[in-house]
Every structure is written in C-alpha cells, then in structure tokens.
Symmetry: C2
Subunit: 416 residues, 2 copies
Amino acid sequence: MDINYASIITIGDELLIGQVIDTNSAWMAQELNKIGIPVKHRLAVGDTWDDIWYALDEECKHASIILITGGLGPTSDDITKPLLCNYFGGRMVVDEETLAHVKNIFTNILKRPILDVNLKQAEVPDVCTVLKNEKGTAPGMLFKKNGKVFISLPGVPHEMKWIMTHVVLPLLPTLFKTTNIVHRTLLTAGIGESYLADLVKAEEAALPPFIKLAYLPNSGMVRLRLTASGEDKDLLTKELDTHFQAFKERVKEFLVIDEDLPIEVVVAEILKEKKATLATAESCTGGYIAHLLTSMPGASAYFKGTVVSYDNSIKTKVLQVPERILETVGAVSEETVKIMAESVREIMDTDYSIAVSGIMGPDGGTKEKPVGMVWIAIAKKGETIAKRFDFRYTRDRNIQLTGINALNMLRITICG
Amino acid sequence: MDINYASIITIGDELLIGQVIDTNSAWMAQELNKIGIPVKHRLAVGDTWDDIWYALDEECKHASIILITGGLGPTSDDITKPLLCNYFGGRMVVDEETLAHVKNIFTNILKRPILDVNLKQAEVPDVCTVLKNEKGTAPGMLFKKNGKVFISLPGVPHEMKWIMTHVVLPLLPTLFKTTNIVHRTLLTAGIGESYLADLVKAEEAALPPFIKLAYLPNSGMVRLRLTASGEDKDLLTKELDTHFQAFKERVKEFLVIDEDLPIEVVVAEILKEKKATLATAESCTGGYIAHLLTSMPGASAYFKGTVVSYDNSIKTKVLQVPERILETVGAVSEETVKIMAESVREIMDTDYSIAVSGIMGPDGGTKEKPVGMVWIAIAKKGETIAKRFDFRYTRDRNIQLTGINALNMLRITICG
C-alpha cells in the first residue's frame, strides 16, 4: 500500500527551551487522521535558518505533505516566511486580498493605528498559494515541489485551526490519495495495564496484521485502542468492529465507555440522558472538578454549581460542617466529606453531588494523613457514600487523579 | 563554540494520532536548559521498528545526547527495549536490582499478584547502564556509542521526571561540557506584539549577536524573552542584565512582571506579600480561576474559597443577587457581577474578591450579549469595580482569557 504521509514541523525556540507546550501538533494529527492521512513524524526546531532548512529537506523524504507551524508573526524573530521564499526560489510580493484583510482588522475591529510590520504580513512569496486566515493577519501559504506539498500556518492555535478546518483539510484529499484509518477505543478503570494485557491475550492473538493494539495508561485508567488501516473501508470497519466487540466483551467488568472520551464527557452524557443535576463541594481540588464539567458546551443542562471550601471556615459557615467534627476527626475525613456532599446537594438542590477533601502536597501531610490521602463522597437522595483514596504523586497529578476518580465514582453510583 | 546539544525523541503512535498531548518534552527541555544543555530537535515517531531506528540514526548526527521517552511498558506495543538491545548489539539479561524493586512494588505496595510481563520489566540489554526508576517498574537505560550518549526513559510523566531529576540531570554535566544559557523574560499586558516590537526597536537594535530576542503572545499578554548563550557566564549575565534593564524600563507602562511566571503565580506572590486573602464567585469560568489559584502549593495562605454559581438559582440563593436584577439586566451585567463580588467577599470574609459572568459559547449568545461578552468585577473594602470584556474565540479560550484577565484586573487593583 502506497501511503501518503504527513509530517508536522513546528518552529520556535520556545518549544526547545520548554517555555510552551505544543498542543497544535496533537490537534493537527487528530484531524489529519480523520481524513485518512497518517502522520509520520512531528519535528520541532528552533528559530534558526539552518535548522528550519534542514527540517524541510529531511521531512519531504518521509512524507508527501509537510505541515509547518510558527514563525509567521510580525516581529524580527519570525523568519519562516523569508526562508520559505528562499527555499522555493520566489520573491516577496504584496497579496492584495490579504492586505485588504489586514487593513480591515486594524481599522474596523481593533481600531488601532496600523504599523509597517502589520502591513508586511500581506507580503508573500510569489511562488505560493495564499491560504486565507480569517482569524489573524498572517496568511497560510502552500508550496509545491517535486510532487510534495508544503503548507505553512501561523502558530497561534485558533488561527491555525481556522485555516486547517476551512482550507487545508478540505483541500488535501483533492491533492492526494488518502488511506482509511479507523480507531476504536475502550476506556477502562480499576485494572492495571499489565493485567489488562493478560486479560485480553486471546483476543490480541486473534488480531489480523492490519489491526494494531495499543495501551494508554493515564490517571488510574487505561485506554485500549485498536487501529485498522487499509484500502477497503467497509471491510476494514467490519473486521475491526468484530474484534472490538470481542475485546469489549472481555473487559466488560472494567469498562467505563467504548469511546475515546474523557471521563467528564462520559459523566456529562449520563447526566443529560437521565436529566439529572449535579453540584460539587471541593476542598483540595479547588474547583478543578467544576472546571472539567463546565469546559463542555451545554454544561448548564446538568451542572448547577460548586462551593470551593478551601478554608475550613467556609466548610463550617457555608457547608454546615460542625466545628467539633473539624476539631476531632478533621477536614480530611469520611464524616466531613459526607456532610460537605449532603450540604452542597441541599444548597444547590440537585440530584447528585460530589465532595472531596484531601492533602495534595507537597506540604501539609502527617503520619496519619499523608500527602495524597483523599476522601471522596457522592450524595444522592437518601444515600451518601464515601471512599478513601491514597495517591502518591505530585500536587498537580494528585489534583487530577482526585477529580477523575470522583467523576468515576459518580458514574458508578448512577449506573450501578 | 562547540556546543553539546540534546535531542528528544518521543515514541508512541498516540503522539502521531493526536490522542495525547506531549508535555514531557517541554519539561525535559526546561531542565536541560537549566544545566546548560540546549535542545536541538524534538522528534516524535510511532511504535514502529524502522521509524525508531531512523530516529536514533538521524538524531545522533545533530546532538551529543539523545533522550528517548516511551515504549517501555509491559505490553506488546512497547518495542523500545528490544529495539535498543538490537541497535546497540547487546543481549537481554535480568537486572537483579530492578527485579527486587519490581517484586517489592507488587508484593508490598500494590499487593497484587505479579505477572510474567511485570517480571520482564527487569530484563535489560547487557550493554546498558541501568538508571533506577523509584516510581515505576520500567528502569531507565543509558547507552554509549561513538562518543554520543543515548538515554531511554519511560513515557509516564512522573516516572520520567523522577529519573531525570535524580539520575540524568546530575549525570550529564559529568559526561559533557555544558554551555551557559541564560533567559530573562518580561510579561506584558495591554499591548499587542507588533506595537511592543515597535516600542522596543531601539533596544533591539542595540543587542549584541549573542543575545536573542523573542516574542511570545498568549492569552492577551505578550512575553518578551532575551536569551544569551556563551562561554563566560559572568560576562554573559552582566551584559544580559544591562540590556534587560533597558527593555524593562521601556515597557514599564505595560509590565506585569519581570519573570517568566504565569499571572496566577504573580497574583499569589502579591497576595502573600500583602498578607491579603481572596475569594471568587464564578459563573462562566465554572471554577477555572479557583483551580488556577489552588494549583500552587501553599494556596491556603491567601485563598479561602469560591462559589460557582453556574445556575441562576445559585446566584440568587447563595450570592444574594436579587431576582429582579436577573430578570431586568440579566446575569451577564455590571450589576450582577458587582453583587456577586461583594457577596462572596462578605460570605468568605476576605480582603479581595473576583466575580465573573459571561457567555463562553458556542451557544447562548444574543445580539445584545454575544458569545465572548464577559463582565469581571473586583471587590475590596469600600469599593467594587467592574469592566466589560469581549473575547471572540472558542469556548476553552474564552474561559482561559476570562480567567487571566480577571487575575490581571485584581493585580492592577492591588498594585495600582
């Protein structure tokens, strides 16, 4: 099978000194997969002429489509555009449509004076096809050389995404033969990666060569992914689904959902389907669970609100935890977290509530209550359950694990 | 100057299909920079024998130190270890120390039966130096070839970080001559990238060749970074600081802080210094601001709590916003957000409070109140101020921008 691969080159010293995390590449890779273009490499290089030149030379050996992000800004450290002009042997000309667009942004939207460097954004190599950027001043550019396509996009995520969605993704299948790549993912909880592998070993042995199996452990859950690729989409999907069903049946005891969705999306779907509402009372997670639940559009259908009782006085005053409980068994206890859950459910008048209280570290641990110890409670009408967890990680990971496990506990409570 | 570069190779199909975002590389790059080892490339490849082999062959042409993460798990999709054994011409042997460590994890910590695949984690190529992994079962491995060093680490972030911190970072300066890399960053707000560049053009022109300037626009703020590298650390730092002072003086009107810190850290430092306390009342951000503030250790010194009033009933019941205000001017209004701020400040008994209410999208916008419209209020004793913002982005970015601008508004309120 002759596959047209893409390679993603990201440009910027900030990527090599670790000043920013590259989220662009993951999004681009997902979208390329959807239209049947697998990604061969992701390569990050600095804002250096020779390094960018090398990346272009090298990646077109491995891929048909070379996607380049970054280095298109108006400042002197942005050298991608002159380099591409040189690389493809062109000269800089003004693109009138881009110029009108840049002027419109400054005059009518930003209402600020336009500088020379802003106007320069409308200059492009005469050997490229301009890809319109409705969200910013730097246009995308498409170059062709020896049957390969090079596409340069701005590094600002929402600008890159706009050009990808509206211009690049519709265009690529008209330029290249695409392949079929189909993924199926099972999200499991309560079983480690090696036990899961042991559990599905018969199913794994039965997989044909065109279906690849992968395990992705993360935050106490393991995703098991099957990926099929090939020419005949119908046959591929049929075969994949047969094997997927076998895996699903085998892991059913640990199955959270048979889609590649984060737990907050799973919980949101369940709540919407049951027309149930939720509130949270958060101590150690400091609003993280509420943030996860409200990251999704339409959260107001099921989510009513939160009390973050970071300080003990808020636990007493707002969440009605008696002072004597805080003084005797303390804030990180089954008693406290149950009252927190019940109080917030009553205050917010919801069907369910989540409450968490724990010690996230790095300080604040004691011998009896070490860092990573967390109590999680779920309240519903007539019943409140609580469970102790012990995480042994860094603060950010302890917060994340608490949130994910609290949502999974709610899922189990609702679905049984 | 003969520089010893590092290259970071990340292995995993999940990186090429965009199923996970690579946060490891950024952290590794930061830490390598601190010890004077610049990163040349970051290359992500799939779980494929030929692609990993290629990456090793290619990257040792560009770097002295090749750091490899991923593919060391106990399951069949993890092929890094046998590949490295083959690449460096070794054979697999049991490392007794690792074996004892793996057995101890299963017997004494996880208290679960140990599987054959778990025991296999203790097998390593006999041509490597084992790097102890206290946090997991897959040890790190160090190989040497033609004066280059190859280091393989697990992809699980907290395991990778432990081995890097305790083994790799102390070791590298004993194997290679390091260079001096010094960064200085100014965080600015209220000025666009191109205007900032225009403002500092005299200072930019005065920079010597060994100091590089970069602009990093993000979330309505722009970071301006100066990076110096060279042999003589004292001279380098002295020169850099002189230029940095000139830039700082020039941008003072827009300066948030003269360090590379996120705004929540800046606000936390100010609150701690002033011994002041804070509470938040969040509608559209759904706990995001509280989450930012409690991500940092020691947050309990200044942060007391939050009411997330996602549903209007919570605004009325908990935050005392009169129903008639919600009915007349609505939840997204100056009046509502001011009352929210004042109420939460009173309930939580704090020096300052932040309140936000807006429409994050994609749905819920109207002609009068479009998606991206947000009211932010800051309350302190005797005074409450509010300001309207209009963001024009996607939901997640609108939430992020609201949070960052709210924290910056608080900063300005406190510091003047």
